[in-house]
């Protein structure tokens, strides 16, 4: 029998509708896989087997009754990043602060997934409050990269990317503030998409940096990501920054791209993000090969300068901490979450301070303090204010670039997966993992990472980043799908299937 965990979401959905396999069987296969490998991968913080099987059963009943599927992904399992609020299911955000919190409401993304008949297997590990690039900042311990268990799966959404690469789920939800979908996608050889800011509702995502946070689809193929994108995307009145426009037609674009022709497409290589200090040779080699492939598909390749991108990282590390210092103020031991130091006449103020000290990890505290500093009177203009101006300059760089090209490309991250523990003592070196992903975040434009083979120097996955103008996700999906087909053809099969097995027999 086919290993159901190795199939794409599109394939699984089709087989479920054709009654070749039931959603319960598909779900159970993934639950079994989780039981088998997750003690080594640690992608999940919480598995809700009963809920998942109930949801699967409901889909099977629909199929049996001959009802129209709720969506093209009905019955397909999904791994949800633990930053998305789920009613009745623990939502910890990787933090001790919310260890036992069971939300009384659903995020809009959650509601849309459930309405689409998608089966939520459980909640995935992440850097605490989505701050980090390795999942090592999770209070619950790190996630391991399925390509090499001694390496990080990226972050903050390392649980979601690892779950895909370990075949624990064919679909996952991530959130991306400065690269937390794309960078984990790159280092695990999976597809990760950050939609246009405002393209997917933020209602019910535990906020890190409000002006940057975006939820997005993660999958092993471009088409699967597109299918999921159309399920979760679109206007939501509960999020005032949500754009009142239809979801871009990304599924059609991916299908168009799969024909493999990019004639007439103009692709700009961002020279400011394609070399220099900190870039691994193997990453650059993979990137240049990918660009050659795109050229081979008929695309016109030009070099593009974005002179202000180099200020992206510093601007990001002022804006995101500033917003997080305010967003995380609500975790104060009064209404929900951890409370320590109560009793013995302790005051509310003391309990708040003691709880926040105990409940937040080092990186979260560090960012709260940077943000508190950057917003305080006397420093606001020099830090937060100036960073917001840099944002304008980066937006202008992007706007001007898109007058001459359809999309921009760069490596997703300067290096392949680093070793666990390698960067934990040096915050700045950790921050560099987001170097290439931050500009699109600051500009609010969509960007995705699609696997571009393995780096020749360490045989680890590399990601190709494709950035498009706001609401033009269709362009990047088309190009990514075309590239994916060409890549697999050249490599003789899907890259993800080359992932090493670590003592787990493939059936």
């Amino acid at each position: 029998m086919t290993d159901l965990t190795r199939l794409t979401a599109a394939d699984l959905a089709a087989r479920i509708q054709a009654r070749e396999v039931s959603s319960v069987e598909v779900t159970q296969a993934h639950l079994d896989r989780i039981a088998e490998v997750d003690d080594r991968v640690h992608a999940f913080l919480h598995v809700s087997a009963d809920r998942a099987l109930n949801a699967a059963r409901a889909v099977d009943e629909d199929v049996a009754a001959g009802r129209e599927p709720a969506s093209p992904l009905a019955g397909v399992p999904l791994a949800m990043k633990d930053v998305v609020v789920t009613e009745g299911v623990p939502t910890t955000v990787g933090s001790r602060m919310l260890r036992d919190w069971v939300p009384p409401y659903d995020a809009t993304v959650t509601t849309r997934l459930l309405q689409a008949g998608i089966v939520i297997l459980g909640k995935t590990n992440m850097d605490e409050f989505a701050m980090g690039s390795s999942t090592e900042n999770s209070f619950y311990g790190p996630t391991h990269n399925p390509w090499d268990l001694d390496r990080v799966p990226g972050g903050s959404g390392g649980g979601s990317s690892a779950a895909l690469a370990a075949f624990e789920a064919p679909l996952a939800i991530g959130t991306d503030t400065g690269g937390s979908i794309r960078q984990p996608g790159a280092v695990t050889g999976t597809v990760g998409v950050k939609p246009t800011y405002g393209g997917v509702s933020r209602y019910g995502l535990v906020a890190f940096s409000s002006s940057l946070d975006q939820a997005g689809p993660c999958a092993r193929t471009v088409l699967d990501a597109a299918l999921l994108h159309e399920v979760i995307g679109g206007h939501d009145p509960m999020d005032s920054t949500s754009i009142a426009e239809p979801v871009p037609a990304v599924v059609a674009a991916a299908r168009e791209g799969m024909s493999g022709d990019l004639t007439g497409v103009r692709i700009g290589v961002v020279t400011d993000l394609s070399g220099g200090d900190g870039y691994q040779d193997g990453v650059l080699a993979s990137f240049h090969a990918a660009v050659d492939t795109l050229r081979g598909l008929g695309a016109e390749i030009v070099d593009v300068r974005c002179p202000h991108f180099r200020y992206g990282l510093p601007a990001y590390y002022l804006i995101a901490p500033s917003e997080c210092s305010s967003n995380l103020a609500r975790f104060d031991a009064m209404r929900y979450g951890l409370r320590v130091g109560d009793g013995d006449g302790a005051s509310a103020e003391e309990v708040m301070s003691a709880t926040r000290e105990a409940g937040f990890g080092a990186e979260v505290k560090r960012r709260i303090m940077i943000g508190t500093y950057a917003l305080s009177s006397g420093y606001y203009d020099a830090y937060y204010g100036q960073a917001q101006k840099v944002r304008t300059l980066i937006r202008r760089d992007v706007e001007s670039a898109f007058t001459s090209v359809d999309v921009l490309v760069s490596p997703t991250t300067p290096t392949t997966a680093f070793r666990l523990g390698e960067r934990t003592d040096n915050p700045m070196s950790m921050y560099l993992a987001d170097l290439c992903t931050i500009p699109a975040s600051l500009a609010g434009i969509p960007a995705m990472s699609v696997p571009s083979g393995l780096a020749p120097d360490d045989n680890l996955p590399v990601g190709l980043q494709i950035m498009a103008p706001a609401l033009r996700e269709d362009r990047m999906y088309r190009i990514a799908a075309a590239y994916e087909v060409a890549r697999d053809a050249a490599e003789g099969g899907p890259q993800i299937q080359r992932i090493p097995e670590w003592g787990v027999a493939v059936s």
Partner: protein
């Protein structure tokens, strides 16, 4: 340009309600210094005439209709409370006055 002292870190921690330890004061003073120095390059860009971007997607006038929506039940509201009494959240004694 930044030179963050332990005292400044202590002040920031108190504004942020973090009961940091002595060891952390030292650690954070050093790390904040490094981070703030390296992000200070945002100041290099001459940007006097550049408007700040607070929203990546420029929208205005997004309003909700003044129509009631269902609330949580009292039980749901208090479901996560570390302590509750008489349908209210129970919190330790409050020292300061509201600002």
């Amino acid at each position: 340009m930044p030179n963050i002292s332990r005292a400044e870190v202590a002040h920031l921690a108190s504004l942020a309600r973090l009961a940091v330890t002595e060891d952390e004061l030292t650690l954070f003073a050093g790390q904040l210094d490094v981070i703030l120095t390296s992000v200070a390059s945002v100041g290099e860009v001459a940007a006097d005439d550049i408007p700040p971007t607070t929203h990546a997607v420029p929208l205005v006038n997004v309003f909700r209709e003044d129509a009631a929506r269902p609330c949580l039940t009292q039980q749901q509201a208090l479901s996560g409370a570390p302590a509750a009494e008489d349908g209210r959240f129970r919190v330790p004694r409050i020292l300061g006055e509201a600002s």
